[in-house]
């Protein structure tokens, strides 16, 4: 590829080198280091005048250092008279801060977009942005690639009886991502919802024990789709019903069994006091968006939420459950969802599948220890150390460097990259 230079940053050199191998070129030489006072130093060892420059830098545990390195690299290439600079960011940092979760919170992803454009980036390539609307943060073109086809390919090849599997979303916000994958694989989906304000099972369906038994019997019968005429003569409509709702209680991040279902007097009193405290917290939490209280960032959960109600809407009995999210950074919600699926909803196997494997702290080790989780599948957009990969029995890493290589090649030659959004042949 003539007049093209690819710089690989320090955050994820393995991915960058694999991309360069696929493209058949060497990474452009550059010196990235830190001065003694902590400042980042960048020296470009080759002329970039009138070149098409690609800078590959992903999110990483040292997130702020690598962001500064990316910005300084882009600025250096801009100063070196590069014709076009493309920032290739497989996992966009701060992507969870893409909306105001608190009324006075910062939309840091938008600020980061401004910083990139100001540094001189002309184009941005990323994968599975936390929300596709984040493309609107940039005033430059953004190519949001998808990890879904890679995950779908792995599921089709490795999950036994994948035609009967169910893709599960562990919170209402991820339902759209889950339905997209379920549609591509032509399988069913389900949703898990955890209500931090309900500490008791208040669903009317479960008040009557007799009715509960009848519903469980009806769920055992296999649901067959209702077929009828669609809108046009050559269309037919299949209606698939999943009317099961199963709830359980969570304490300290784990599902409580049925034998602990009896509430004593003290527990009820504690629940009442918790409700008062939660009411006070709600007024602040609701200052942001609908999901401010159901924040995906579990670090915000105070210890007051000792007991929650977890609900599965859908049917996974006797099937494999695939918990899908765009990133795995904290283990709590995955473990509680998997335990609920296995212990109460009769799931045969549980796969935890995501695009970005961030694994904050001891997240990977906690997921390994859970008996309910069989396999953890992530792509290699985020660097995971070799020791953790070697020490893990459940972790499967999918290589997505061919997708980025093909995107860079097509972008360099001005070709359309629409085929990358759906095709599995890019692998």
């Amino acid at each position: 590829m003539r007049k093209c230079k690819i710089f690989v940053g320090n955050s994820h050199p393995e991915l960058g080198n694999m991309v360069c191998q696929r493209l058949g070129i060497e990474p452009a030489p550059c010196t990235l280091k830190k001065f003694a006072n902590g400042e980042t130093s960048v020296q470009i060892g080759v002329s970039v005048r009138d070149e098409d420059v690609y800078v590959i830098q992903s999110g990483s545990p040292s997130i702020n250092d690598d962001i500064m390195e990316l910005l300084i690299l882009v600025s250096a290439c801009r100063g070196g008279s590069a014709r076009k600079i493309t920032a290739v960011i497989p996992q966009f940092p701060y992507s969870k801060q893409c909306k105001m979760k608190r009324h006075r919170g910062a939309i840091t992803a938008r600020m980061l977009a401004n910083l990139l454009v100001m540094a001189g980036a002309d184009h941005v390539v990323s994968m599975d942005l936390h929300a596709s609307q984040m493309q609107g943060f940039f005033t430059k073109p953004v190519d949001n690639l998808y990890g879904g086809p890679s995950l779908a390919k792995w599921i089709r090849e490795n999950v036994e009886d994948y035609e009967d599997a169910v893709v599960v979303s562990k919170n209402p916000g991820g339902t759209k991502r889950v339905t997209a994958l379920a549609d591509s694989l032509k399988i069913n989906f389900a949703m898990i919802h955890t209500d931090r304000r309900r500490s008791k099972d208040l669903y009317s369906q479960n008040k009557d024990l007799q009715q509960l038994k009848l519903r469980k019997q009806s769920m055992l019968r296999k649901n067959r789709p209702i077929i009828r005429q669609g809108d046009h003569p050559n269309e037919e409509e299949n209606i698939i019903l999943s009317n099961g709702i199963q709830t359980a209680r969570i304490r300290n991040g784990h599902v409580i069994g049925d034998d602990e279902a009896d509430d004593d007097e003290d527990a009820i009193l504690e629940s009442d006091s918790e409700l008062h405290s939660i009411d006070g917290l709600d007024s602040h939490g609701l200052g942001g968006t609908y999901d401010a209280v159901d924040s995906e960032d579990e670090e915000e959960i105070p210890v007051l939420y000792r007991e929650q109600l977890i609900t599965l809407v859908g049917n996974v009995r006797g099937r494999s459950a695939i918990i899908l999210d765009d990133m795995i950074d904290r283990p709590g919600s995955f473990i509680s969802a998997a335990e609920h699926l296995v212990q109460n909803c009769g799931a045969k196997k549980v796969y935890v599948v995501a695009t970005h494997g961030i694994f904050t702290g001891d997240c990977l080790e906690e997921l390994e220890k859970s008996d309910a989780i069989d396999t953890i599948v992530v792509t290699n957009t985020y660097p995971i150390s070799g020791e953790r990969i070697a020490g893990s029995k459940k972790l499967v890493t999918i290589d997505v460097s061919p997708i980025f290589a093909e995107c860079i090649r097509r972008d360099h030659y001005g070709e359309s990259i629409s085929v990358l959004f759906d095709s599995l042949a890019a692998l």
């Binding site: 339902t175 339905t179 591509s184 046009h232 050559n234 037919e236 209606i239 999943s242 007024s283 042949a425």
Partner: protein
């Protein structure tokens, strides 16, 4: 506290709301001349001084959207030129805030629902429902796209650089091969032997798709542009309500206060819906699951979810011809047309020869399977997740434009045994024949806010079937607090 430093202008998109908001604030709307020149240009003249004043311009993004938006921009610019100290745009319904990434017709149905003479890879997008938050777009026909990509990679392998002056004899040879294969592959596909003339197609998008297989129709998303236009006109602050996407404030460089209709909606459910304790909150599509569960949690109700997807049924035939495993490609005679059409753009005779050979083999294999199979149908799958039998259902949505999604959801709920269906909506735009569709639908009662004028809705559906929720108190209280520099967090829980 004194409100002497505040000035409220109202555009002409929603004068009733302007009046109600000013009543809440106990002030009079300031005078402004809103007109048009004979050449169609918008004419604005401020009739009151705004020097060093805090100006609020109330304009909803409805009616003639582009006229009202230009009016808002010119009003903002006029106030800035007249030395206003701060200008706040109050847009209860922000136009262009819903950014679909799938093209759809005026009726609201996805554009792929029409039968096509040419088969294209884009016939089956992942989700027909317009989804702005989709982060994955895997298609149902990814294997067929693999075939196209395989051919492309073959071409790229032999010719990394495009040849701009093709050999004339090679071109003639290409045409001969293409024509021969076309005539051969079409006969088994068409029952009765009727030959379709694809050149008669009047669908420009369809022709575009046929010529550029693998390219997706790209729908422009104007949200960032709207944000930049408001900032460029001089707006210092924006107040809106129930934005479709929570990321939308990130498009702006100025503060955006996104108010919520949710407290008033919850109040309505508790006080106006009989036996609401056993009701089910339903989201009509996957994107609204978060909104539905938020209301269900606040009221301790059950919830359900509806999802629609349009797929193509794979042809039935001999097992060796219709393998569905990931290791091989399913064989279908219909994509050959697209492949052949795309091959016309190939200038390399060698690559075309290879592709033609592959297609000939595929054709000979598929002719057997196509003889024993019917023409493929578009199968539309609907999923209803949750129990709605013998229950009152409350469909919650933030924006209804063509009412395509919500009427289908109501029909499905009634078919599955729901006793009563309410539709609780924030922004009721109701463009085109949406009101007729709702009139004939299974929705028993429509509850809608007045962020958009609802006179036509009340007139068409009658007062028994429509309840209009007044949001002017929320907006008025927000303006008062913003003007006084107070916090508006309390609005999000109690409403006012």
């Amino acid at each position: 506290m004194s409100m002497s430093n505040i000035v409220v202008f109202g555009g002409d998109s929603h004068p009733e709301l302007v009046t109600k908001i000013c009543e809440n604030l106990d002030i009079h709307p300031s005078k402004v001349e809103l007109g048009k020149f004979s050449n169609g240009e918008t004419n604005i003249a401020l009739r009151e001084s705004v020097r060093e004043k805090d100006v609020y311009i109330i304009q909803s993004g409805c009616g003639q959207v582009n006229d009202t938006f230009m009016q808002l921009l010119i009003l903002i610019s006029a106030c800035k030129s007249a030395s206003a100290s701060r200008v706040t745009a109050v847009m209860p319904y922000l136009c262009y805030s819903r950014q679909p990434d799938i093209p759809y017709t005026a009726k609201g149905a996805p554009i792929i629902s029409k039968p096509k003479e040419n088969y294209t890879f884009e016939s089956h997008p992942g989700t027909p429902v317009s989804s702005s938050l989709m982060t994955q777009r895997p298609g149902a026909e990814s294997s067929l796209k693999s075939l196209d990509s395989a051919i492309r990679s073959t071409i790229n392998l032999e010719n990394p650089q495009p040849i701009r002056t093709p050999n004339s004899s090679a071109t003639a040879n290409n045409n001969f091969d293409i024509k021969k294969t076309l005539s051969f592959s079409r006969i088994p596909m068409i029952p009765g032997g009727k030959l379709q003339n694809t050149s008669n197609s009047t669908d420009a998008g369809e022709l575009f798709n046929a010529q550029n297989a693998g390219y997706k129709l790209w729908v422009v998303q104007a949200g960032t542009l709207i944000a930049h236009l408001l900032s460029a006109a001089g707006a210092d602050h924006v107040i809106t309500m129930d934005l479709h996407d929570p990321q939308f404030p990130g498009f702006f460089d100025i503060p955006v206060d996104n108010l919520y209709c949710k407290p008033i909606a919850q109040n309505y459910i508790q006080h106006r819906i009989p036996d609401y304790q056993d009701a089910v909150i339903v989201s009509p599509d996957a994107g609204g699951a978060k909104r539905a569960t938020a209301i269900a949690d606040a009221l301790e109700l059950s919830f359900a979810l509806i999802h629609k997807e349009r797929r193509s049924q794979l042809l039935k035939g001999p097992p060796d011809a219709t393998l569905t495993s990931g290791g091989s490609l399913p064989v279908s005679p219909r994509p050959l047309v697209t492949t052949l059409v795309s091959s016309q753009n190939t200038t390399s005779s060698g690559a075309t020869g290879v592709a033609a050979l592959e297609m000939k083999k595929t054709t000979s294999t598929s002719s057997t399977s196509s003889q024993s199979s019917n023409s493929s149908k578009f199968v539309q799958t609907t999923m209803l997740v949750g129990d709605v039998r013998n229950k009152v259902c409350i469909i919650v949505d933030d924006l209804v434009d063509t009412s395509y999604t919500i009427t289908r959801a109501a029909k499905l709920l009634k078919d599955q045994g729901s006793t009563k269906v309410y539709a609780l909506i924030t922004h009721g735009v109701f463009s085109g024949d949406a009101l007729e569709r709702i009139g004939q639908s299974s929705i028993d009662k429509l509850i809608i806010s007045n962020t958009v004028p609802q006179d036509r809705t009340l007139q068409y559906l009658g007062k028994d079937r429509v309840d209009v929720i007044d949001v002017s108190c929320i907006i008025g209280e927000a303006i008062r607090r913003i003007h006084n520099g107070e916090s508006i967090s309390m609005l999000f829980e109690h409403g006012w």
